[in-house]
Amino acid sequence: MDQKDNTLKVTVSRGTSGEQFEQEFEVPAYENQTVLDVVSWIQQNSDPTLSYRFACRVGMCGSCAMMVNGEPRWTCRTHVKKVVRKNTLSIAPLRNLPVVKDLAADMTPFFDKWVDAEGYHHPTRTRHDPMQEVTPNDEERNRANAGIECINCAVCYAACDTVANNDAYLGPAALQRAWTLYNDQKNENGQAILDAVSRDGGCHSCHSMGSCSLYCPNELDPMSAIAGLKRETAKNLFRRRR
């Protein structure tokens, strides 16, 4: 490797929403290096004012997602090797969210929508009741399990053009959560969920473009979850008429 191969040319988006600009950095390349390491190197060695967010550094907390060469990714688990092109990288804050500063996006809208989609458990029992017995592999449970490991990283949210173009759209993660709960035998009030996702900006705004499922780092499939909601809401319409 010659000297040039040992450095990465990294373009980083700086500033806050509305006042963004790009800045270039040279970062030494290492054998085991993630995109988060590149960003950290810049802040720790080159420009101490660079802002970004991370916590767990192992793909569990979902706070480190950024746009890497235009694609949304969890940076702590993205090896540079996988994304680097001709020794260059471009890094920007997660798309479709306001920017707090530099690479740190404001995730508030994402979580507000999570709650708007009724994305929280509606209990049927209390702590004083025995736990519900649930057959682990029946069909309904498998549907609930399919999306349960979402880490709310908002990668799917950033990948989706419908989110980009429609402010009200709840987005793939929130809807997938709603679908998971809808299929959870322990959750009461499926109707509340169907109502929530039938409002404007709900599941019917999705165009099944599938970027969410393509980019989800945990290989979840929000697109199919949303399709499930569309099916259930449509069925429910006829059911209620009767």
Partner: protein, 110 residues
Amino acid sequence: MLEFRLYMAQRLTALLMAPLVFGHIAVMIYAVQGGLSAAEILGRTQGSVFWFLFYGTFVFAVSIHASIGLRTILHEWSGLKGGLLNAVAALICAALLALGGRAVMAVTLL
């Protein structure tokens, strides 16, 4: 809820149109074999209740279907929203109905 209703309307009209489109394409393929002329078309269709219903249904469905589709696109790509968006969509629907209705009348009723 509005969007959900529009969604259902768009899907239902699409389902309605699908067989009509098939029929139409079949007719077209048959028709072009002999070369088109006004007389030919009119000869086949005029005075036919079947063709009136066939194309009438299509026009009705397509006006609803396309205006809903364009409403979505206008909202997503131009940011139009609220009453204005709905008004524009209704206008498109009305225009399509008018134009299409006139055409169906012309082709089938005289």
